[in-house]
Symmetry: C2
Subunit: 405 residues, 2 copies
């Protein structure tokens, strides 16, 4: 007998038919003699509907009250799922975030799970109940309802799996697993049977929005095996686990991220400490910088370029404009029309030719590289936004075309 | 400075415009220096929508899960009202049933409030917050969400007013107060400026659905002054208070109840104890009997007639049919097409002519009386359902026509 945590996203429970589909998956798992804890998100568009309802009244409601409102969404979906499981004839109980013991930080709208006290969940499992838990929510030290922010239900599921030492944590979603590239865009994209936590993290960061990043970090920390799979097709998905336990693939995926802007400060005097000061200013404004490139300029000056997410670009430019005179730089340049394309693979550390292969693929496709960034398991390039899809295809072909397998 | 509890029903917060109307009433009260606790129901049709959503999945869901679902309704309305009050620039916090300290019996779907521990409410009032509380809900000893059943928000409001010794508990609704008869049906129906708890209880029982009965009982027990008034017109409503504190009116109202059926057991042998046994059988099936009439029959038998609510009629008939042979009675007769019309008035105790006046009014209108029941402050008659409206008008005219005032 195993303890299995199953998480279902909003689209998996969007209507009565889908709720029954999920009830079927859950009860099938339970029938096999497993203890089952189900984490569920709000139905389909509930969250967006609630936000709209709130905005009719107040476009800037307090985050506390927004959390009260949004958390009603899972309360609805979890009770409906419980009713469907009752209808199928199985014992079930649904629990809100506070009932399930989710204690979070105080930050309304984006709280972090501080601890899960699963006494109630355990008690219900002991009674042989299927336990449904509201994802995405908890309570803070003031006994106020908090939400974990978008994608938080994944984290809820992994947190339960961690604290209860679950044997498996299944994340049901609307895709069949993790792919070598976006299957809607890249012909020949293949589903991976397994991937390491680190690779998954890099892919998630790079815009392959299959799993919430915090959930993967937590799974890695507590060594919880995740399975990403579809609630609609009944096929095995992708297992996310420790790299040591798996056969390393050279490259596990190609991802594209268009939510990126390039910012350059041109003509920065070549004095020590200026770069540090520039990036401190940005950090103080909560602007996360990704790829950084420093070029040797002319006349004792240099150019510093970096990328940020698009929504932070304006703030970054404003911050630097205030600073450009102070440091004696020439000007700040801002370019939105860029994309980041990356390959991720735990195997690339030991294969130095990977970067060259990637650049060759881009050269063959006549795509110009603006910036390059590498880590142990990732190589990213910044290119024109309009080249992004072609770049992904070219790189994917290079590494995954049948000739190379 | 006073502590005022204000309760708003579902129609009062049905949409954004109405939510702002309520926010206006609440903040006007707060501005005058009062502490304000607001109890709010689910918006408009939310409860019915939820029931429909549930029934799509399971027509017989567990009451526990139904309560989880329904209680989301007030969570939505209370957060939206809080956002509207924030928008108007006032400090506010919304609390669910468990946050507000509502502890109830375990009976899902129809729980009774066992105690209210208002520590959190008090703390928020001390911080000068307007406090919004979800009506209709609480938690039981298992830390599960319960609901109080329909109309339970009134009870929530009175319970808070009682435990916190509020100076006034205002029940905002879609009528302007308590009337001498249904103003939509009876020309000349007048709003009462005050009414006693007992009269209100009799009127509520008789189908004048202005206030939930349990809430009036509780207000009476803890001597909380209630005001029933409209959230849409800004007129004074009806004060419900101790009889001793008010000028007694002879008659405070005329009410009609068509949710009633008459059942007769014909030819019951005239032996002691049979009536007792018959009504014990009904009590065991949870059938509440209202007016009882025992006639002297012929040949040493008698007929026993009584009224029940329509939904219990079938069960009562079945119960008695099983029993009719055992007691040696002839048969059970069932009549649905009846109505109960009643007058209520704390003053009637000391005025023996009231009953005669009522019967005279019915006689003048050529309406036949089937059964009569009286209490200290109420006289009810059972008549044909088709005569009910005419009976109410005739009786109302008799007691309230301008000639008699």
């Amino acid at each position: 007998m195993s303890l299995i945590v199953q998480k279902f996203g909003g689209s998996s429970v969007a209507n009565a038919e889908r709720v029954f589909n999920v009830a079927g998956i859950v009860t099938d798992t339970y029938k096999k003699g497993n203890d089952v804890v189900v984490v569920v998100s709000a139905q389909g568009d509930t969250t967006d509907d609630f936000i709209e309802k709130a905005n009719e009244i107040n476009t800037e409601p307090s985050k506390r009250e927004m959390d009260v409102l949004l958390s009603a969404g899972e309360q609805i979906s979890m009770s409906l799922l419980a009713m469907a499981i009752e209808k199928l004839g199985y014992p079930v109980v649904s629990l809100t975030g506070w009932q399930a013991g989710f204690h979070t930080s105080s930050a309304y709208g984006g709280a972090r799970i501080k601890r899960v006290i699963p006494d109630r969940i355990r008690k219900e499992l002991d009674k042989k109940n299927i336990v449904i838990v509201a994802g995405f929510q908890g309570i803070n030290r003031y006994q106020d309802i908090t939400t974990l922010g978008r994608g938080g239900s994944d984290t809820s599921a992994v947190a339960i799996a961690s604290v209860m030492h679950a044997d498996l944590c299944q994340i049901y979603t609307d895709v069949e697993g993790v792919y070598t590239a976006d299957p809607r865009k890249v012909e020949g994209a293949r589903k991976l049977s397994e991937i390491s936590y680190d690779e998954m993290l890099e892919l998630a960061t790079l815009g392959a929005q299959v799993l919430n990043n915090r959930s993967v970090e937590m799974a890695k920390k507590y060594n919880i095996e995740l399975e990403v799979l579809s609630s609609l097709t009944k096929k095995p998905g992708t297992i996310v686990k420790e790299a040591a336990k798996m056969e390393k693939m050279l490259i596990s995926g190609v991802a594209k991220d268009t939510n990126v802007a390039r910012i350059s400060i041109v003509g920065v005097p070549d004095r020590p400490g200026l770069a540090f000061k520039i990036f401190s200013k940005l950090a103080a404004k909560d602007v996360n910088v990704d790829i950084i490139l420093q070029s040797i300029g002319r006349d004792g000056t240099k150019d510093i370029s970096f990328t940020v997410t698009k929504d932070k670009a304006k703030e970054a430019v404003e911050t630097l404009n205030e600073y450009v005179e102070v440091v004696g730089a020439a000007r700040v340049v801002h370019e939105d029309n860029v994309a980041k394309v990356s390959i991720v693979g735990a195997g690339m550390e030991s294969h130095p030719g990977i970067a060259a292969d990637m650049f060759e693929a881009l050269y063959d496709a006549q795509i110009n590289i603006q910036m390059i960034s590498t880590s142990e398991i990732k190589i990213s390039v910044l290119i024109n936004a309009c080249d992004a899809d072609a770049a992904v295809s070219a790189i994917h072909d290079k590494f995954f075309s049948t000739d190379n397998v």
